[in-house]
């Protein structure tokens, strides 16, 4: 009986050590890595484009798909609402923050615009509403910059990286696409999603 | 083996005494006791195993019989029972009670008429 008790006690001790190690060691480490990754995903410079590939669609109409798409892009950490105008294929994304105070807002918007238009084939225009103003950008403006159709950029990560690292973050591009706030909605009607 | 079993309920109450009677004349093992019962009743009453074992257990617990293991020629062993002085006394008592009861009931049921 005594020997068995000692063995059981040792088992408990070992289990405790394993629990401690796993819980406060391994799990904490994994959580840390995850939060670092998630933080990185809020920036266009570090974003992993694979995250949005499941949300590619030929049509803008699917509201939940669009929502999912933007939740996996930079700036998702701000509260968002969406509106889709099906006739002009315009998407309005309302970010509950001020553009002035948002870090790297132009780079992130450029990235998101490219990603969204590459993912959704018939998306023609995006309006980004902030608390302090609205940006508007059309598909035409974006397509001008590229020789290939936008959706092809997502077929090959190399292409995507080239596009994002060398093309859209140039100051000239950013200045053209997202100048100082201009309240210029692309269309007059929008349906709240 | 002809099986003309008498209504066993009537006999059941006396199994203990019956076994004691058989053991009074010599030691037996389980099956041997069953055979003796069949023989003594001229084939008219067959004692079943469950009743046998229950009875033997009860008698042994009371101290009226003792058991011992005997080796058999084929290997394996048999459990034999022998009666004790208390068992003998118990048998005499049971026999006396049965005689008395038989007399009274015969009178009451009118078995002596005709």
């Amino acid at each position: 009986m005594k020997q068995k008790n000692i063995r059981i006690f040792l088992l408990m001790l070992v289990t405790f050590l394993a629990y401690w190690f796993l819980n406060y060691g391994v799990v904490a480490e994994l959580q840390l890595r995850r939060s670092i990754y998630e933080h990185a995903q809020t920036s266009a410079y570090f974003h992993n484009i694979q995250e949005i590939l499941p949300y590619r669609s030929p049509y803008l109409g699917d509201a939940s798909n669009t929502g999912n798409l933007f939740y996996h892009l930079p700036l998702h950490q701000y509260p968002m609402t969406f509106a889709i105008e099906p006739e002009t294929c315009t998407l309005t994304v309302h970010y509950d923050t001020a553009a002035k105070t948002t870090e790297q807002v132009r780079e992130n918007l450029a990235y998101n615009t490219l990603a969204a238009m590459a993912a959704i084939d018939n998306l023609q225009c995006i309006q980004y509403e902030f608390q302090d103003g609205t940006y508007c950008i059309t598909r035409q403006q974006v397509e001008e910059r590229f020789d290939v159709p936008l959706s092809a950029l997502l077929d090959d990560t190399e292409q995507w990286e080239k596009a994002t690292q060398h093309e859209i973050f140039l100051e000239t591009v950013l200045a053209e696409w997202f100048p100082m706030e201009i309240d210029a909605p692309c269309s007059s009607d929008s349906q709240q999603v | 083996m002809e099986e003309q079993t008498i209504h066993s309920d009537l006999i059941r109450g006396h199994i203990d005494a019956i076994l004691l009677r058989i053991l009074r004349d010599g030691d037996h093992y389980g099956y041997g006791l069953m055979k003796q019962v069949l023989t003594l009743s001229d084939g008219q009453y067959e004692l079943k195993e469950p009743s046998l074992y229950t009875s033997l257990k009860r008698l042994e617990k009371q101290g009226s019989i003792e058991s011992y293991w005997g080796d058999e020629s084929q290997g394996g062993r048999r459990k034999y029972y022998r009666i004790t002085p208390q068992g003998r006394a118990q048998y005499e008592e049971a026999l006396a009670q049965w005689q008395w009861a038989k007399e009274i009931i015969t009178k009451l049921l009118g078995g002596n008429d005709g």
């Binding site: 009986m1 068995k4 008790n5 059981i8 006690f9 088992l11 408990m12 289990t15 405790f16 394993a18 629990y19 796993l22 819980n23 391994v26 799990v27 994994l30 | 083996m1 093992y29 389980g30 099956y31 041997g32 069953m34 055979k35 079943k48 195993e49 469950p50 074992y53 229950t54 257990k57 058999e72 394996g76 062993r77 048999r78 459990k79």
Partner: protein, 218 residues
């Protein structure tokens, strides 16, 4: 001969292994063999003789004294030790879940193991010597009830998990897709968590198995 042995085996299958039951087994077998020999000598064929012998004793209900004089104090200590051990086993079972949304079960495991260990220790320190009778059949019955209840519980739990996870797929006829190892792990953990409760019927089983070990002779 073998067939009679098997028959006796079957009769005693659910009975505890005590010196008493072992002796009764031997006795019953030897008497059945003697009967069979006798019937053969009287001219019956082997088949009929064996069947006749078997027929006379269809069960051992009522023949086995179920009440066991037990060293209750030591039996209870053995039971407390079992509870302690099983709590630790449960705790070990929760370790893989630390990586899932069921992390809190690890803390439950810790708590249970410590509490049951302390309880066992208290028992060790304060143990009144006690004897009493315990029913072996009662312990066996509780064991079977525990297993039956658990079986129903787990069947219900597993079906609920399946319904929640695959219900919409079944209803709408869409194929089930499990993308990647993470989803497999989540699915597996949902079936695994209720499975951990199997330690409860295992503990009750162990209580029943321990009881014959603490009988008091004489």
């Amino acid at each position: 001969m073998n067939e009679l042995e098997r028959h006796v085996e079957k009769l005693f299958r659910h009975q505890p292994d005590t010196p008493e039951t072992r002796e009764l087994r031997e006795e019953i077998l030897s008497n059945l063999q003697a009967k069979r020999e006798d019937l053969l000598a009287q001219g019956l064929d082997e088949r009929a003789a064996t069947e006749a012998a078997k027929r006379d004793i269809p069960s051992v209900d009522g023949l086995i004294d179920d009440q066991q004089t037990t060293n209750v104090e030591r039996y209870r200590m053995a039971c407390a030790q079992t509870v302690w051990l099983h709590c630790i086993l449960f705790w070990i079972g929760t370790l893989p879940l630390l990586f899932t949304g069921y992390r809190w079960l690890g803390a439950v495991g810790l708590g249970l193991s410590v509490l049951s260990g302390v309880g066992y220790l208290l028992f060790w320190l304060i143990h009144p010597a006690m004897q009493g009778t315990r029913s072996l059949a009662g312990a066996r019955r509780r064991k079977m009830i525990a297993w039956r209840i658990w079986g129903i519980f787990y069947a219900v739990a597993a079906l609920s998990v399946a319904a929640v996870t695959f219900g919409s797929n079944l209803w709408y006829g869409t194929p089930v897709t499990i993308e990647g190892p993470y989803q497999w792990a989540v699915l597996a953990s949902r079936f695994y968590v209720p499975l951990l409760t199997v330690l409860i019927p295992l503990t009750v089983s162990r209580f029943a198995a321990l009881l014959p070990q603490y009988r008091v002779e004489g």
